[in-house]
Each structure stands twice: as structure tokens, then as C-alpha cells.
């Protein structure tokens, strides 16, 4: 992390905007492309006025064609530019699956290291915003199986900036997931100037002794709220913010589990085959004899999508109260 002298309070949208702006200013090779990123300034106004300052050749409005957005960006990256492609909502990423998995993630391997693909794909994901079927999904589990692809899902504004800078600097493709509900909800001190947070490093956001909770994205905030509730009940829960989904920070998870002997994984994505499954398997393989309780995953039910109706959305999403109950059961097991 570079030395920074001051900081200011930003929300997650502002943190993304500031980081992109600084990247555009710092390096002419940086290109932003995606649906409505130019004249509309992005649907969340993240790139508002960028097109006026940096011009339509560096801030490119694309057709509604995700395969093209990523495909063009892969070509730019291979030929020396630093593209930051945006998928307007993660729900729309499926047409670009081939370009992400088949092209970007395999470029370095296929070219025997001659080409790399220094590409960032940013996309808002997650629910709890009445987004229904097409504006609520979590896509991380669909991509985390793929070697050659890094996946980042920060929860705090300072991590958004540090990790987005690291993603832009990284020589290989990074899928950068921004949780929509945290965009304006979560505010925090963000250091000024350029700094990076290493990809693949988790962060212990609350220390505790009786249970390790691993989460990422919006649910980190809810897990913290639940853990504070348990603190007032005299129960001590450690909360680990994964920050990077892949590479996974095994060391931080294992050292926490070895301390608390219990592991609860909380994520918004479906349970079956989710990130929690990988963490569970990793801990079972490497720390079985530290476990004093079965590993538990508190995740979304296996239904095809989050409903629009509020009761259906609430049924799909967890809550700080539900998380607290799961934590209580684990601590008292």
C-alpha cells in the first residue's frame, strides 16, 4: 500500500468512481467500455461526465451485446491496452461466458505466456434491492471454478479502491463484483491517492474466539451486525471478510478456524456448489482435527431466482437476525 496522508468518507459507488477516475487520469491506455457508461454515465452514475473529460474513444458506449463487450476488451488487453469492461448487471453476463472463461482466463496458458490479458470486468451483483430475476443474481460460483480468473468481491469502500487498483494493475483477468445494495448504504474512510490491497488476502474485520464466520459482500456487514449482537450476549464471534473469492486466502481462514474451532460460512449465493462448499472442503482437508463442530453453511435456498415480491425476496435473503441465530447455535454447540 502506498503511503497516503489523508482520507475522506466515501460510499462504495463513490469509491469505484474515484478509483476509475484516477486510473483514467494516470494511464492513457485505460479504456472503459460497456452499456451506458458514456453518455448516461453508467446507471449508477459511476462514470458520470467521464466521456466529456476522456472522450468517446476511451469511454465507449457499446451495444447491448455482452459477448462483444468482453470479446473486444480481451483483444484490447492482449494488444497492450488496459480495458475496464462493465457488465451493466451481473445477471447479463451469461452471453460473455465464453469470452471470459474460454478466452480471457486461458490467454496466458494458450499463448505459453507470450500474451497476457490484463482485463478488469466490473459488474454490480446481488439482491435485497427488489431487483427480481434479472437484477439480483450472484454469479461468483459460476466463475470460481475457472483457473486463470481472479474474482474479487469487496464490502468496504477502502477495500473497493485498494482492490480495484490491484485488479487494474494485475496482468491477468479479474472479475470485480460490486454489491448493489452496498453501493450507497456503506460508507467509510478511503485513503486518497493510489494504493493497492493484494488480491487473495482476506481481512479479519472483527476478532473473536468462539466461532469463525466467513463471508463476503453485503453479508459481511450483516454478519458484523449479528456478531455485535452476540457480543452483547457474551458470545465471541470472529468475522472474516473474504474480499477475494479467488485466489482464496486459505491461511487467514485456517488460522481463524484453528483458533475458534468452529466455522460458519455465510453467503447470499445458493448453497449447493457455492463458495461455501469450497471453503468447507478446504477446511475439512486441512484443519479437520481442529474442528469442534460440523462446518455449517448459511446460504440462499436452492431456488432458481430471487422473487420480486417482498416476502419472496426476504425468504431468499438472510438477515442479521437469522445470522445471529445460526451463530448462536454454532457457539453453543
Amino acid at each position: 500500500m502506498a503511503v497516503t496522508t489523508s482520507s475522506k468518507v466515501l460510499n462504495n459507488v463513490e469509491a469505484v468512481r474515484e478509483t476509475l477516475y484516477e486510473a483514467m487520469k494516470a494511464d492513457d491506455r485505460t479504456i472503459i467500455l460497456g452499456e451506458d457508461v458514456g453518455n448516461r454515465g453508467n446507471v449508477f452514475l459511476i462514470t458520470k461526465d467521464f466521456i466529456n473529460e476522456f472522450g468517446p474513444e476511451r469511454v465507449i458506449d457499446t451495444p447491448i451485446a455482452e459477448a462483444s463487450i468482453v470479446g473486444i476488451a480481451v483483444g484490447m488487453a492482449m494488444e497492450g491496452l488496459r480495458p475496464i469492461a462493465e457488465i451493466q448487471f451481473a445477471d447479463f453476463i451469461y452471453p460473455a461466458f465464453n469470452q471470459i472463461v474460454g478466452e480471457a482466463a486461458k490467454t496466458r496458458y494458450r499463448s505459453n505466456g507470450e500474451y497476457t490479458c490484463p482485463l478488469v470486468i466490473r459488474t454490480p451483483y446481488g439482491g435485497g434491492v427488489r431487483g427480481a430475476l434479472s437484477h439480483s443474481v450472484s454469479i461468483e460460483a459460476l466463475f470460481y471454478h475457472v483457473p486463470g480468473l481472479k474474482i474479487v468481491a469487496p464490502a468496504f469502500p477502502a477495500d473497493v479502491k485498494g482492490l480495484l487498483n490491484a485488479a487494474i494493475d494485475d496482468p491477468d483477468p479479474v472479475l470485480f463484483l460490486e454489491h448493489k445494495k452496498t453501493y450507497r448504504l456503506i460508507k467509510g474512510e478511503v485513503p486518497e491517492g493510489h494504493y493497492t490491497i493484494p488480491l487473495g488476502k482476506a481481512n479479519v474485520v472483527k476478532e473473536g474466539t468462539q466461532l469463525t464466520v466467513v463471508s463476503y459482500g453485503l453479508y459481511v456487514h450483516w454478519a458484523l451486525e449479528a456478531a455485535q449482537q452476540l457480543q452483547s450476549e457474551g458470545l465471541s464471534v470472529e468475522v472474516v471478510d473474504l474480499r477475494s473469492i479467488r485466489p482464496m486466502d486459505k491461511a487467514t481462514i485456517l488460522s481463524s478456524v484453528e483458533k475458534t474451532r468452529k466455522l460458519l460460512i455465510i453467503h447470499e449465493d445458493n448453497k449447493f456448489g457455492g463458495i461455501g462448499a469450497e471453503i468447507s472442503a478446504m477446511v475439512a482437508e486441512e484443519a479437520l482435527f481442529h474442528l469442534d463442530a460440523p462446518i455449517r453453511r448459511h446460504c440462499a435456498p436452492d431456488v432458481p431466482a430471487m422473487g420480486y415480491a417482498l416476502p419472496l425476496e426476504e425468504e431468499y435473503m438472510s438477515s442479521p437476525a437469522e445470522m445471529a441465530q445460526a451463530m448462536r447455535e454454532m457457539v453453543k454447540f
Binding site: R261, L288, F289, H290, L291, D292, A293, E329, K332, F333
Partner: protein, 451 residues
């Protein structure tokens, strides 16, 4: 009155058993103590006796099926009681209490019979459940700290023993852990109050040393040696026996001159032929099994229901090792000649020294012989192996001037033999008769004869 029969625990560390063979069918009647099922574990095959007399109404486990200790395996309808309509018949036996205490029990919970035995078995079932629900972390910590999980009281959900519970038990020190074991009631029956154990510190030592500094083989003054499993079990058994069986003691002096001559004449050939040394032990054991046949009450055991006179004569031999004591058992010792006893004992002693004794080698004893004289002991007051009526010792053999019946003085080889007996089972009359019989038999042996 239906009694649920549960899978017995065959050995200290055994948590499940396989029904190898049903010896009865549904509808067959079975006598109390009659074997009705053969159960096997990875170490042991055992025929399980029925705790009640009745008719087998259900077999809940198929042949070849493995179930946890304490799980119901059969239901026996007791003879003479209207089925399920009243409770006036025979009270459920300890097996019923066991089933009620076991978490897996699917039968309606009978109330325990209130006897110490019933409570004890219920607690044992809980202790076994504690073992089954132990997490990997608990198992690992228990191994590292030499803690028996069954002796730790659990603070987790449903009484589960947690990793912290094991660490707390370890910090409290081994003395406290034993106290706790008594409190939990592991094998201690009605006398299981922690305060009842003499010499147990009521508080843990102020500053237990770091583990691994002081061991049984290398004791360091001022330090605490953590209890290992063997020492803990020895401690439990000794306390159990001393607290439940009122010990009485008697001694006879036996002229073993002729036996000694016989043994001296045979020992070189015997060792050449078999590879085992020929000591006085098998001669003594042969006399013991003959005396037991003459005094079957000495081969009995005390139970709350009555004195059970054992059919088999299985003689335990106490063998002291550097770190603990083991008592392997020669099964059906009364069917063996002196030579057979010598070989059987030699095999067991050899196994004991190589630490190869299995559960079946160590179980089933009905009476115990302690060869105590090797280091010159002249008399000793042994502790009865719990569940037996007595233990008899062989003390050192010494040459002494003896006044014979014709008032002549002769130099003879003399050996004392001491007997501790469970006074609940036999009185002095029977015990002294047994000792006198033993003396007579040994004095008649040799100097000639075939082994």
C-alpha cells in the same frame, strides 16, 4: 413385561458391535444368563447372555448388521407377566435402564430400577454417547492431553463434550479428572461420590507443570504426571473393588519341596520343547483350579440379584510391567494340564511384554492368581479384581526348618499363599476351606509325575 436388550460394550474402547449370529429365533424361550446371540467386534467374539428369562419377541438387528453400543437389538417378553399391561412383574433389569439411557433407543423409556447398577449403566450409556459425539478436535485434544472423554462433563448442546471442556479438564489436572470420573459414576456404582475417594486431593494442584516433562517411567519430583488410560483404569478398578467388595484376608504356609523338585527335574526339557520357562506358577494354578472345583463359591461373583456361580473357570494372572499392571486371563484353565497352563501363561506373559494383549485376552476372568514372590515378598494383601470372589498370591519360596508330624525337624521349601476374598460372596469358613484344600493339593504334588 418386555425387556429391551441392548448391544453390550465389549471392551473399553469399543463403540459398536456386530450381530454375528442369533442363537435363538423369534418365539424361542430363553433362560436368564443363557447365551442367545453372538456378537463380534474387531477384537472380540462374545456370546451375550440374556439378563432375563422369557420369550424372544423381536430381533431388531439382522445378522451381520453393526449397531452402536447401547442400541436395542432384541426384545424379550418376560415369563409370568401379562405383556405390557402392568408393572407388577419383575422390574426391568439393568439392560432396560441401559436402553433408556441410550440416545438411539427407540423403545418407550422404562423407568430405571433405581438400583445403583441401573443408574450406573444409564450413566455409562451417556458416557458412551459422549464418546460417539466427540468432534475431531475433542478427540485430538483428548489424545494429546491423555484425557478420557467419557470422564469429562460436557458443556455443549445436549451435554456434548467440547474442545474447551477437554482443555479445562486437562488444566484441572489428573487428580481432578479422576474425581470427575467418580462423580460421573463411571464404574463406581453406589459409592461414586468424589469425596468418598481417600487420598484424592479435593482441589487441583496449584501449578500443574507443562505436559511432557515428567512421565511414569521418568518421574521428576515436584511435578505432575498426567494420567494415561491404563493408569486411570487401574485407579478406577482398584477404587471400585476396594469400595464395593469388603475384603477379608487369610494366609497359609505351603510346603512346596516336592513340587519344586518336580519342576526342577522338568524345567530344562520343558524349555527346550516349548520355548517357555517352567516356573512354579502352572503347578500352583493347577492346584487352584482343582480347589475352585471343590469350592465353586470361590469362583462366583456378587450381583445385586444374587451370587452368580461361574460355569467357566478363567484364571487371571497379574503381570506387572514397568508402567502398568495387566491381568490377562487363561480361559477354561480347569481344562488344562500343568503343561497346558505353563504354555498358556507363557504366551500371555510374552504378549503382555510385547504390549500385544487384546481385549479377549484381558476379559472374562473369574478368579485371579498373583505371583508376588519373585522379589522376596513374604506376605501381601492383594486387591480383588472387581467382579470376582477372590485373589490368591504366591509369595517367595524359602528354605525353612519345619517341625514335621513325627516331631522331626526338616529343611523344607516353604511358600506362603495369601487370599483376599469378597466377604459378600463367601465367609471365612469357605475361604479357609479353600486355602486348606489348595495347600493339601500342592503338598501332594510331585516329586514324580507327568506335567
Amino acid at each position: 413385561m418386555a425387556t429391551t436388550i441392548t448391544m453390550p460394550q465389549l471392551g473399553e474402547t469399543v463403540t459398536e458391535g456386530t450381530v454375528a449370529q442369533w442363537l435363538k429365533k423369534v418365539g424361542d424361550s430363553v433362560e436368564k444368563y443363557e447365551a442367545f446371540v453372538e456378537v463380534s467386534t474387531d477384537k472380540v467374539n462374545a456370546e451375550v447372555p440374556s439378563p432375563v428369562t422369557g420369550v424372544i419377541t423381536q430381533m431388531l438387528v439382522k445378522e451381520g448388521e453393526t449397531v452402536p453400543t447401547g442400541a436395542p437389538i432384541a426384545i424379550i417378553d418376560e415369563v409370568g407377566a401379562a405383556s405390557g399391561t402392568n408393572t407388577a412383574g419383575t422390574e426391568p433389569t439393568q439392560q432396560v435402564a441401559n436402553a433408556a439411557g441410550a440416545p438411539a433407543a427407540a423403545t418407550p423409556a422404562h423407568s430405571g430400577n433405581g438400583s445403583s447398577n441401573g443408574q450406573r449403566n444409564a450413566v455409562d450409556a451417556n458416557a458412551d454417547a459422549a464418546l460417539r459425539s466427540a468432534s475431531p478436535a475433542v478427540r485430538k485434544l483428548a489424545r494429546e492431553h491423555h484425557i478420557d472423554i467419557r470422564t469429562v462433563s460436557g458443556s455443549g448442546a445436549n451435554g456434548r463434550v467440547t474442545a474447551d471442556d477437554v482443555l479445562t479438564a486437562s488444566r484441572m489436572g489428573p487428580a481432578a479428572a479422576v474425581g470427575q470420573a467418580i462423580g460421573v459414576g463411571t464404574n463406581f456404582g453406589a459409592t461414586g461420590a468424589p469425596a468418598a475417594m481417600p487420598g484424592t486431593p479435593s482441589k487441583p494442584p496449584a501449578a500443574p507443570p507443562a505436559s511432557g516433562t515428567s512421565t511414569y517411567a521418568d518421574p521428576i519430583p515436584g511435578t505432575l504426571i498426567p494420567l494415561n488410560q491404563a493408569r486411570r483404569i487401574i485407579a478406577e478398578r482398584m477404587v471400585e473393588s476396594k469400595h464395593t467388595a469388603p475384603h477379608a484376608w487369610s494366609m497359609v504356609e505351603i510346603d512346596v519341596t516336592n513340587v519344586w523338585k518336580w519342576r526342577t527335574r522338568e524345567k530344562d526339557r520343558f524349555e527346550r520343547e516349548t520355548g517357555y520357562k517352567l516356573t512354579l506358577l502352572p503347578f500352583f494354578m493347577r492346584a487352584v483350579v482343582e480347589s475352585l472345583a471343590a469350592f465353586p463359591l470361590m469362583n462366583a461373583k456378587f450381583t445385586p440379584e444374587g451370587l452368580y456361580v461361574n460355569k467357566d473357570v478363567n484364571i487371571g494372572i497379574a503381570i506387572g510391567l514397568s508402567t502398568n499392571l495387566v491381568v490377562p486371563v487363561i480361559k477354561n484353565a480347569d481344562k488344562l494340564s500343568i503343561k497346558g497352563l505353563a504354555i498358556a501363561a507363557g504366551e500371555l506373559i510374552d504378549k503382555a511384554r510385547r504390549n500385544k494383549l487384546g481385549v479377549d485376552d484381558l476379559s472374562g476372568g473369574t478368579f485371579t492368581v498373583n505371583n508376588n514372590g519373585a522379589n522376596g515378598s513374604w506376605a501381601s494383601a492383594p486387591i480383588i479384581n472387581a467382579g470376582q470372589a477372590g485373589i490368591v498370591t504366591m509369595e517367595t519360596v524359602v528354605k525353612k526348618p519345619v517341625v514335621r508330624e513325627d516331631d522331626a525337624i526338616a529343611i523344607r521349601q516353604m511358600m506362603n499363599s495369601c487370599l483376599s476374598l469378597d466377604h459378600r460372596v463367601v465367609d471365612g469358613y469357605v475361604a479357609s476351606g479353600f486355602l486348606a484344600d489348595l495347600k493339601k493339593r500342592l503338598e501332594r504334588m510331585g516329586p514324580d509325575g507327568a506335567l
